[in-house]
Symmetry: C2
Subunit: 353 residues, 2 copies
Amino acid sequence: MSHTKSQRVTQRTIAELAGVSQATVSLVLNGKADSTSRIPEATRRRVLDAIAETTYVADPAARSLAGVGNDLVGIFTYEPAFPQETSDFYAPLLMGIETTAESLGVDLLMFTSAPIVDGRRQLFHEKNRLRLADGCLLLGQKMDTGELNRLVDSGYPFVAIGRRDDPAGRIPYVGVDYANATSTLAELALARGHTRFYSLHVPTDAESTRDRQSGLVRVLDEARVELTSATTDGSDLEAAWRAIRKAQPTVLIVEDATHAHRLVDIAVADGVDVPNDLSIVVLGERTRPSERGLDFTRLAAPRPQLGSNAITLLHQIMNGSSDAVEPLPHRQLLECVIIEGATLGAPRIGSNL
Amino acid sequence: MSHTKSQRVTQRTIAELAGVSQATVSLVLNGKADSTSRIPEATRRRVLDAIAETTYVADPAARSLAGVGNDLVGIFTYEPAFPQETSDFYAPLLMGIETTAESLGVDLLMFTSAPIVDGRRQLFHEKNRLRLADGCLLLGQKMDTGELNRLVDSGYPFVAIGRRDDPAGRIPYVGVDYANATSTLAELALARGHTRFYSLHVPTDAESTRDRQSGLVRVLDEARVELTSATTDGSDLEAAWRAIRKAQPTVLIVEDATHAHRLVDIAVADGVDVPNDLSIVVLGERTRPSERGLDFTRLAAPRPQLGSNAITLLHQIMNGSSDAVEPLPHRQLLECVIIEGATLGAPRIGSNL
DNA sequence: AAAGCACGGTAATACGCATTAGCAGTTGCC
DNA sequence: GGCAACTGCTAATGCGTATTACCGTGCTTT
C-alpha cells in the first residue's frame, strides 16, 4: 500500500544485481544441488553477496503458494489466551510450545481474528485463516468433535491438546492421563482410611472431566466405597457446601482449583477444619498458591511438556516423519504428577462436619 | 505433500459447481459491485450455495500474493514471553494486544524462531522473517537504536512498546510516562516529610530506567533534597542493603519489584520495620501480591492499554490512516497509575535504621 | 436498420517463488 | 572427429486469488 511497487526486493531484484536469472537465485537460496542443476561457487557467491547488500527475504505467501512450507505453526485457542483468568491455564502450555518452537525454528501464529460466539472462538468461519500456517495446535478444554473431524478430512495437519474422544482414532492429540492420576489419588485417600467420598466437578462433559470421574469411580467401585457426586459451575458454592455438609463425606474431591479455594474459605467460616474435619483433594488446573497459604493435595498436569510434545508431534506430521527418527505416536497421554499437599489427612471420628 | 492434487477446494472448484468462471467467484466473494462488473442476485446465489456445499476457504497465501494484505501483525519479544519470570511482564501487554487484535480482525505472529544470543533474540539475522507479517510490534525493555533505525529505513511498519530515545523522531512508539509518575511519587514522599532519599535501580541504561531517574532527580533537585543512588542487578541484595543502612535514608525508592520484595525480607530480618523505620516506594513492573501480604506504594503502568494502543497505531500505519479517522500520534506516552500502598509512611525520628 | 448502450460475464494477467525441461557450450572417450 | 556426457544456466510453468480489459447479447434509440 504505502510501498511503491519498485520498493519491494524480490528474487528478480537480486537476479539483476547478480546478473543471473530469477531461477538461479531461487536455486541458490534453496541449496538445490541436484545433478540436474548445479551452481558453481563463483555464481553462488555473487548471488549471496547481492542478497547481503539488500534486505531481501522471501515472501512467505509466495513460498506457501509455491507449495513449500513456511515453518509457521498456528495456535488456535478457543478462548482468549492472555486475560488473567485463562492465562494461568494457557501460559504454561504456551511456554512449552514457545521453547520448543524456538528449537524447531518455527514461528507461532495466533489466530486471534476468529470471531467469538458465546465466549468461544469459532474454528470454521467465513474468512478461516488456518491455512496461513503449515499446521495448527488446538488448545481448549472442550472442542467440537464434528469440527475436528472436518479438519481431519481436509487433510490439514493439526494436533489437539487434551485427550479427544474419537473412536475412529483419527484425531491426533497429546493429553493428560487424568483417569489414572485420579485413581491414584483415590487410592491414596482409601489407604488413609477414608470411607465416604464426595466429588464436586464442573458441569461440562469435556473429556478431561469425564476421565477424572471414571478414574475415581473405577477405584471406588472396586473398593465398594460410597461416592456422592455433584456438579457446580461455581456460581453458588454456598449451596454446594450445604449439600456437602449434608452428605458428611470424609474426603472431598474438587475438580476446579478456584472452587476449592473458595470452598475452604466457606468451610472455615462454617467452623470446619481442613483437613482435620474434612480432607480435600483437588483435581484441577489453574492452581496458584492459596491466599491462605493452603497447600492442596492435588494433581498437576505437566503442561509445559504437554505443549512441547504437541508441537513436536505436529512438526513431525507437517514435515513427514524423517525415516531417521522414530515416528511419534499420534495419540499421547502424559502422566500427571501427584502433589502431596497438606489437605489429605486421615478421617476423624466425630468430625466437626 | 499428503494431499492429492484434486483434494483442495479452490475457487475453480466452486466455479465449476456453479457453472461460472473463477473470476466470477472471486467477484462474488469480494462483493465487488463496480459498475464495471455487476452480478445479478441469481448468480450470486448459485455461487454462494456452491460454497456452502463445500468447505471452501480462500487461501490466505494466494490472497496475500494477489496484493491484499493478510492482516498479520507480528510480535517480536526480545526475550521468550511465557516463562514465569517474563510472563508477568508480557502477559498484560499481550492481553491488551490480543483483545484489540480481535476487534481489528488481525492475527498475531510471534517470532519465536529468531536466534537467541546472550539471552536476547536477534531482530536481524540470516533468515529474518519479519516480512511474514504486514507490520510488527516490538516488545522488550531495551532495544538497539541502530536496529530500530535500520527498520525505519527499510520502510517496514512497526511500533515499539516503551519510549525510545530518538532525536530524529522517526521511531513510532507507545510508552509510559515514567518520568512524570516518578516525580509525582517523589513529591508524595516530600509531602510526607522525607528528607533523605535513596534510589536503588537496575544497571541497564534503558529509557525506562533513565526516565524514572530523571523524574526523581528533577523533583529532588528542585526541593534541594539529598539523593543517594545505587544500582544492583539483584545478585547481591545483602550488599545493597548494607549500603542502604549506611546511608540511612528515610525513604527507599526501588525500581525492580522483585528486588523490593526481597529487600523487605532482608530488612525485617535485620530488625527494621517497614514503613515505620524506613519507607519504600516501588517503581517497577512485575508486581504481584507479596508473600508477606505487603502492599507496596508503587506505580503501575497501564500495560494492557499500552498493548492496545500500540497495535491500534500499528494497524493505522499499516493501512494508511483512513481520512475518516483522526490520525493517531506516532509517539505516545501513557499516564502511569500511582498506587497508594502501605509502605510510604512519615519518616520517624530516631528510626531503627 | 444501424448505432449506441447497459448488462452479465469471461479471458488474461500479475503477484513472488519453486521446479522442471531443456538449451548452448564444453569436455571426455574411442 | 564424431558422439555422448556433462556443466551451468535459463525459459517456462504452476500455485490460488484479485482485477482489469474486453466481448457477446439483447434492448433502446434515431
